[in-house]
């Protein structure tokens, strides 16, 4: 529902990076999104494409790494992926687990074309 706002934030960050490294041509931006982040990847991709159209970044590819919900097994303590309502621990088979979710909504990487390598060794935070 708020994917356009998220897409805007992503493009803002790309623009900020581009200003820091004017020689770099950013061609791909990678995001990590958790199942609990409340963001629909398809819808975000759609919004992002619409935003990028007509800008100097076009075509800028958005790559989303989507992580499923996580659970912690109450018996063996192991972490495992599963649906929100939970499932048996794949290691010990216990049905008793604690929902942990996965609410990442973060950048993972930018892919740039040659020319930026030298500029990017020390990234200002």
């Amino acid at each position: 529902m708020h994917e356009m706002g998220i897409a805007n934030s992503v493009l803002d960050a790309v623009q900020a990076e581009a200003r820091l490294f004017p020689s770099a041509h950013i061609c791909k931006v990678g995001l990590r999104i958790g199942a609990m982040a409340g963001v629909d990847p398809d819808s975000l991709g759609f919004c992002f494409e619409a935003l990028v159209r007509g800008t100097e970044f076009e075509p800028l590819i958005l790559e989303i790494e989507y992580s499923p919900h996580k659970h912690r097994c109450a018996s063996c303590g192991g972490l495992f992926d599963g649906p929100v309502e939970g499932s048996a621990c794949p290691v010990c088979g216990s049905e008793d687990s604690q929902f942990i979710g996965s609410d990442e909504l973060e950048f993972a990487y930018l892919e740039v074309e040659d020319g930026a390598d030298a500029a990017r060794t020390e990234s200002p935070q």
Partner: protein, 234 residues
């Protein structure tokens, strides 16, 4: 082609402003709560029951978010406390900048409780930190007991679940125990209160929770003052 790591949250600008707000709230010993629930879950009515329970001397203020209309602010202003409507114009959640802007002409030193009623929505508000101490999620018995499983983020991030419209329970197939079980499946330390704002049954349990949280903020402030006094002596 080169891949450069970029370790940063997408909403880091919102998080930065929220962090500043949180610091301000702590400095002025203000308890800030972010109330989240579906449209029609009873957020404004819970606030009405809350404000009507307060003496006029209580240092409380309300920000209420909606996509359109000043209706909620009008309903809440009747109680004589400062109330401000945030109309988002289409945005489905409040963000930290909206709170910062709305608070610009209020003095936090005049407050010790700030109640924020978010835009009616169980999805997007969960992504935006407003600098609040805690999120409170409302779920009415006319919705469904599986809402915590369908919208886990907001239940995971809230510390209190207020089950509302309990007076309607006899008319709807809502399974109260299943709703509580689902909420605790998502968040095992979830506190739960059950209220009917119409009959006021259970309203006391919410007010009690609120009062304890306010005492907590005051106690933390006392510890800080004592600590400062002691280090001044040394």
């Amino acid at each position: 082609m080169e891949r450069m790591p970029l370790e940063r949250k997408v909403l880091n600008e919102n998080d930065r402003i929220a962090g500043e707000l949180r610091t301000q709230f702590a400095r002025h010993n203000v308890l800030c709560l972010n109330l989240i629930g579906s449209p029609g879950s009873g957020k404004t009515t819970l606030l009405e029951r809350t404000l009507e329970s307060f003496a006029p001397t209580e240092r409380v203020a309300v920000l209420t978010g909606d996509i359109q209309t000043e209706n909620d602010a009008k309903r809440l202003a009747r109680f004589g406390f400062p109330v401000k409507q945030i109309t988002t114009g289409g945005t489905c959640h409040l963000d930290a900048r909206m709170i910062e802007k709305a608070l610009a002409d209020w003095r936090l030193e005049d407050l010790d409780l700030l109640l924020i009623e978010n835009v009616g929505n169980l999805v997007c508000p969960s992504s935006y930190d407003l600098g609040e101490n805690e999120k409170v999620v409302l779920l009415s018995v006319t919705e469904g007991e599986d809402k915590p499983l369908k919208y886990p983020a907001i239940f995971f991030k809230s510390t209190l679940l207020v089950l509302t419209k309990l007076d309607l329970l006899m008319h709807v197939p809502f399974q109260l125990a299943a709703a509580e079980e689902n909420a605790r499946h998502i968040h095992n330390k979830m506190e739960i209160v059950k209220v009917s704002c119409l009959t006021r049954d259970g309203a006391q349990s919410w007010l009690q929770w609120l009062s304890e949280r306010r005492k907590g903020v005051r106690a933390a402030a006392m510890v800080e003052v004592q600590g400062a006094a002691e280090s001044a002596r040394v």
